[in-house]
């Protein structure tokens, strides 16, 4: 029952969600709304699960003085501080929005900004015309990169760049999307029918 129960439950709910897309019957729409309600509840609870896991992971590192434990202590301090601040002052006013605007936002923006540097170094390292296909990719990449900014428009590359995006790129992208779509549908059917049971923790 430990293995079969979830599979049966998954089949019932999966078929319900599949059928409701095709039928306008109100009783199915009501069950569909119930499932969505429960989905939100479960998701909220799993966030708590994540916070607890995070807490115990870093607590163990601090307790056992493992390598990098001061950073774990900082993580725990930040976690507890933000929770307390939100509970005492509410998330809408006081230290919480200040910390968000002046600490979290700049840190996250900095991580994303790293991409600019990594794109430059990765492009320099990887875009070598080692073969005909690589040369073709290189030329297309250069044309699109220049055509998508004002300086490329001054050079008259805007239309060529748009053509590359609208036709060859679109064709390749659609091909991948069709394949991915079929793969997703097949995997969903396998999960609903109980053929795919990875979510139960089955190892192989």
């Amino acid at each position: 029952m430990k293995r079969t129960g979830p599979v049966i439950f998954g089949f019932i709910v999966g078929m319900l969600m599949l059928i409701q897309h095709f039928t306008p019957q109100p009783w199915i729409a009501d069950r569909y709304n119930n499932v969505l309600d429960w989905k939100q509840v479960v998701f909220g609870v799993t966030l708590i699960l994540g916070v607890i896991s995070l807490f115990f992971y870093h607590w163990k590192k601090v307790e056992q003085r493992q390598a990098g434990w001061p950073y774990s202590l900082l993580t725990l301090a930040g976690l507890v501080f933000m929770i307390l601040v939100a509970l005492i002052f509410t998330p809408e006013r006081g230290p919480y929005p200040w910390m968000f605007d002046h600490v979290q936002a700049p840190m996250q923006a900095t991580m994303f900004a790293l991409l600019a540097f990594y794109v430059a170094s990765a492009s320099y390292r990887a875009f070598r015309a080692r073969s005909f296909h690589a040369a073709l990719l290189l030329i297309a990449g250069v044309l699109v990169m220049l055509g998508r900014v004002p300086i490329g428009e001054l050079l008259g590359l805007h239309h060529l760049s748009s053509w590359i995006l609208d036709y060859p790129n679109m064709a390749a992208k659609r091909g991948v999307m069709i394949g991915v779509g079929l793969g997703m549908t097949a995997t969903a059917i396998k999960i609903i029918l109980g053929i795919e049971r990875t979510y139960l923790g089955k190892g192989a």
Binding site: L49, F127, G183, A186, I189, K190
Partner: protein, 305 residues
């Protein structure tokens, strides 16, 4: 109180709160319905279509049934023992080599399942491949580190890895602290994984799942540490970055075929073949439709009419 009991208590509490909310909402709706039930019924009758199926969704329904039948048909064939061919996928052939490299160097393996939640197909496929990678890591006694962005994925991954180690007779290798939750923040997760790579210096990195803009940061950092990297994603906007910075990349559907390829389980192989036949059918439709369009026959409009 043990951690497991605390988790169960919290989930039960959440379920009760949710049920209470549903109940009170249902009560409020019933009260509102009592007040103006006639108006509600009239409005509902006007907007809700009748019948058992939306007329415009018939083609999708038929296509879904046909596709499902194809999948089941090939699964039945696979059950009867028919040999089904699957082409070589370089990235998956390299899994053994990659795990072996980590063993020889005495360094761990890092596995990132992507950023999507468990309900997404790419994550399901990633966890399938994780099971195979964990088996090999267990056989070679190599440490497997897995930072997660989603707590449910973390929980499933812990179970998968524990069972994989047990399946190869090494349940003692399992350490729950190596499969951990980091943060829900996209770049917070990227920073955590990069930090792990710089500190632990894994010899092998697996980036298997659905990734977003952080993919290049992860791949470049891994490249800088000298690890062998195998990536696989159905996110076509991130494929160029993985192809650039990783040694092997599984493109699109190859990710979904991953667990089938590594396990060679007949049921999964059958489903993969069914998928391939459906794709061939779609290709035939596309080609036929294009040729007809060249002759001025718009088959799409005709079908819609």
């Amino acid at each position: 109180m043990s951690r497991a009991r605390l988790l169960i208590l919290l989930m039960a509490l959440g379920a009760c709160l949710g049920a209470n909310s549903l109940g009170s909402r249902a009560g409020a709706e019933a009260a509102a319905a009592d007040d103006d039930s006639a108006a509600v019924a009239a409005a509902s009758a006007e907007t809700t279509p009748s019948g058992w199926i939306y007329p415009e969704r018939w083609p999708t329904a038929i296509a879904t049934l046909l596709f499902g039948a194809l999948i089941l048909g090939f699964i039945a064939r696979a059950r009867r023992g028919q040999e089904l061919y699957i082409r070589r996928i370089a990235g998956l052939e390299a899994v053994d080599e990659a795990v072996g490299r980590a063993t020889e160097m005495g360094r761990p393996i890092l596995y990132s399942p992507g950023l999507d939640p468990m309900e997404e197909v790419a994550t399901v496929a990633s966890v399938n491949i994780l099971g195979q990678v964990a088996r090999r890591a267990g056989e070679y006694e190599t440490r497997l580190i897995m930072p997660n962005r989603d707590p449910i994925v973390m929980t499933v991954a812990q179970e998968v890895i524990r069972e994989s180690y047990a399946a190869v007779g090494r349940p003692d290798l399992y350490d729950a602290n190596d499969i951990y939750y980091t943060t829900q923040s996209q770049f917070g997760y990227a920073a955590a994984v990069c930090g792990t790579m710089m500190r632990e210096r894994p010899a092998t990195n697996f980036f298997i799942g659905h990734f977003y803009a952080e993919s290049l940061i992860l791949a470049e950092t891994g490249n800088a540490t000298g690890a062998i990297q195998i990536a696989g994603t159905d996110s076509d906007s991130q494929l160029p970055f993985f192809i650039t910075a990783c040694d092997y990349t599984l493109i699109g559907e190859e990710l979904y075929a991953g667990s089938v390829y590594l396990s060679r389980e007949p049921l999964l192989l059958g489903a993969l073949k069914g998928q391939d036949i459906a794709k061939a059918f779609i290709l035939a439709l596309l080609l036929g439709g294009t040729i007809l369009k060249l002759f001025g026959i718009d088959i799409g409009t005709w079908l819609r009419e």
